[in-house]
C-alpha cells in the first residue's frame, strides 16, 4: 500500500535548527507573520484525530516513532508521502525561501534518512517563482523528494504565467506538482461569493479552489507549454470532477475562438495530466452511486490512495478502499498508480 498524504508536523523549533543564523535571529525576534489556513477554527485541536497526540509530547505528526506505530506499522504501508504543511507564505519572500530550505533539510535529516518507507513533497516559496525554482534545483536528483508542494489557496489561479517557471523546473526534474488542500491566499475568500461563516463551509468549499486551478491550468494552455507536467490534486475530492469536465468541454466547443491555444478538449488535458488522491473519500448514501461516479470520471489509472494521517478527517484504508469497485481497481488505487507516478522502485 502507498499512502499519498501523510502530515508530519515540523515544529518551529525543529525548523529553526536548520535556518542560517540571520534567519534564526529573524525568526526569534519577529516570528512568522500568520498561521495560514487557520482562519477557521478546526473541528479538533490541530485539526487532528484526538488519539493522534504522541504520548511523549508534541503535536500530532511530530514524533516519527509514534507515526510509525499508529500508521506505517498499523497497515502494510510500503511507502508514505509526507506533505508537511508549515507555511512558506509569509509575505516576506526571502524569509519564505529560507524557511522552505530549512524545512526541507529538516525533513531529510529527521524523517527521510531514518525512515526509508517515507518520501516527501518539496516545500517551495511558491508565490515567488524564481526562489521556488532555486529550491527545486537545490534538490534535483534526490529521489526522496517526489513532488513539489503548493497549497490550494494561492494568490492567483495556478495557470497564471507567474507560476510557469515552477512548472518548467518541476517538469524538467520529473517532479509532479502536488496541490494540497489549505494555505493562505493573501486576501481573497475561499468561496467565489465571499467569506462563509462555518468550518463546514470552509472544509467543503475548499473544492472551489481546486476547481479554479483545474480550469485555470487547462485554459491558460499550461499543458501545451509543458507537455510533461503532472498535477496531483491532494485532498481535493473526486466526485465533482466529471460534471465539471462535461461543462468545460461543452463550453470549449462553443468558445474555441476565444482561446485557440487549446488544441484538445479540456477533459483530454485533465485525463492526460492529472492525478487525484482519495481522502476524504466521498460517501454517497447509495454505494452504487460511487461506482457510477468513478466510471464517469474515467481516471482509473490516476487515483491515489491517501489517509491524511493524523488529521481528523483521516480515512481508514480498510474501509475507504472498499468503496472502489473491483479488485483490479482497488489494487491500482491502493498501490500501483502511486508507484508508477512517483517512480517508487
Amino acid at each position: 500500500m502507498v499512502d499519498c498524504d501523510i502530515h508530519n508536523h515540523l515544529t518551529e523549533d525543529a525548523v529553526s535548527k536548520y535556518l542560517p543564523k540571520k534567519w534564526r535571529d529573524y525568526d526569534r525576534q519577529f516570528g512568522r507573520r500568520m498561521t495560514p489556513g487557520d482562519f477557521y477554527p478546526k473541528a479538533t485541536p490541530m485539526a487532528s484525530r484526538t488519539d493522534a497526540w504522541p504520548p511523549g509530547g508534541g503535536p500530532p505528526g511530530s514524533d516519527l516513532a509514534f507515526l510509525r506505530k499508529q500508521l506505517l506499522d498499523a497497515w502494510p504501508i510500503e511507502v508514505g508521502i509526507l506533505n508537511t504543511l508549515i507555511s512558506v507564505r509569509n509575505q516576506f519572500r526571502d524569509y519564505d525561501a529560507a524557511l522552505a530550505t530549512a524545512a526541507n533539510a529538516c525533513q531529510v535529516a529527521e524523517w527521510l534518512a531514518p525512515e526509508p518507507r517515507l518520501r516527501a513533497s518539496l516545500l517551495v516559496p511558491y508565490e515567488d517563482a524564481a526562489l521556488a525554482v532555486a529550491e527545486i534545483r537545490r534538490h534535483a536528483g534526490d529521489r526522496r523528494f517526489v513532488q513539489v508542494l503548493i497549497p490550494s489557496r494561492t494568490s492567483e489561479p495556478l495557470g497564471q504565467r507567474k507560476y510557469w517557471p515552477i512548472f518548467a523546473a518541476a517538469a524538467e526534474s520529473g517532479l509532479p506538482i502536488g496541490i494540497h488542500f489549505g494555505g493562505w491566499s493573501g486576501g481573497h475568500p475561499i468561496s467565489g461569493a465571499g467569506w462563509p461563516t462555518y468550518y463546514l463551509e470552509y472544509h467543503t468549499g475548499m473544492i472551489q479552489t481546486f476547481q479554479a486551478h483545474l480550469i485555470s491550468l487547462v485554459c491558460e494552455g499550461v499543458f501545451e507549454e509543458f507537455p510533461g507536467l503532472k498535477i496531483v490534486f491532494i485532498e481535493g475530492g473526486l466526485a465533482w470532477i466529471a460534471p465539471l469536465l462535461w461543462r468545460l468541454d461543452r463550453s470549449w466547443r462553443q468558445l474555441k475562438a476565444e482561446n485557440p491555444n487549446l488544441r484538445r478538449a479540456p477533459s483530454e488535458y485533465v485525463r492526460g495530466h492529472f492525478w487525484l488522491t482519495t481522502q476524504p473519500i466521498e460517501e454517497p448514501p447509495e454505494p452504487s452511486q460511487f461506482a457510477g461516479m468513478i466510471s464517469g470520471l474515467g481516471m482509473d489509472d490516476r487515483l491515489l490512495f491517501s489517509t491524511d494521517y493524523p488529521h481528523w478527517d483521516f480515512d481508514n484504508p480498510d474501509s475507504a478502499l472498499s468503496s472502489f469497485p473491483g479488485p483490479s481497481l482497488r489494487q491500482k488505487v491502493r498501490r500501483d498508480n502511486a508507484r508508477a507516478l512517483y517512480r517508487l522502485d
Binding site: 484526538t50 488519539d51 481528523w312 480515512d315 480498510d318
Partner: protein
C-alpha cells in the same frame, strides 16, 4: 447472552469510563451520574476506537441563531471524524435512524451475590486477571 463481571463500581467514578475486553470484544463502560452504560468500542463509520473519544453535550438549535445545550457528559464523539453517539443507547446523535453502536445491558450487583455458587454468571476478565470477587464491594456487570 451472559453477564460478565467487568469492574468494581469504585473503579469507574461518575463521568469516567473503563475499557474492558469481554468475549473477544472491546467495550467501553461509562458511569453517567451513577448509572452504567456499555458500548462497543468500534465506530461503525471507519472503525476507530469510539469509546476513547471525548464526552460532551448535546447542542441543538430550535432555529438559526438560537442554541440549547443539555445532556452534559452523555454524548460521545468519535476520536477520528467526530461522529456523535448517545452513550445511553448507542444511537448516533446526527442520524438516529441510520447509525447505531451496539449497546449492552449493564447491571450492578454486590459481591455477595456474585461469589459461587451464584448462577448465570460468567467470570469476566476482572476476575480472571487479578483478584477474586470480594463480597464487600459492588460490581459492574455487562451482558454480552
Amino acid at each position: 447472552m451472559a453477564k460478565h463481571i467487568v469492574s468494581t463500581v469504585a473503579e469507574i467514578p461518575p463521568g469516567t469510563r473503563k475499557l474492558v475486553e469481554v468475549a473477544g470484544r472491546s467495550i467501553g463502560v461509562f458511569n453517567i451520574g451513577g448509572e452504567f452504560f456499555a458500548l462497543r468500542n468500534r465506530c461503525p463509520h471507519q472503525g476507530a476506537a469510539l469509546c476513547t473519544g471525548q464526552l460532551g453535550s448535546a447542542v441543538t438549535s430550535p432555529g438559526p441563531g438560537r442554541y440549547e445545550v443539555d445532556r452534559a457528559g452523555e454524548i460521545l464523539r468519535c476520536p477520528w471524524h467526530g461522529w456523535e453517539y448517545d452513550v445511553r443507547t448507542g444511537q448516533s446523535w446526527f442520524d438516529p435512524k441510520g447509525v447505531r453502536v451496539k449497546a449492552y445491558e449493564t447491571a450492578v450487583a454486590p459481591g455477595s451475590a456474585l461469589v459461587p455458587p451464584a448462577t448465570g454468571l460468567l467470570p469476566g476478565p476482572y476476575v480472571a486477571e487479578t483478584f477474586a470477587v470480594s463480597i464487600e464491594e459492588d460490581y459492574v456487570l455487562v451482558e454480552v
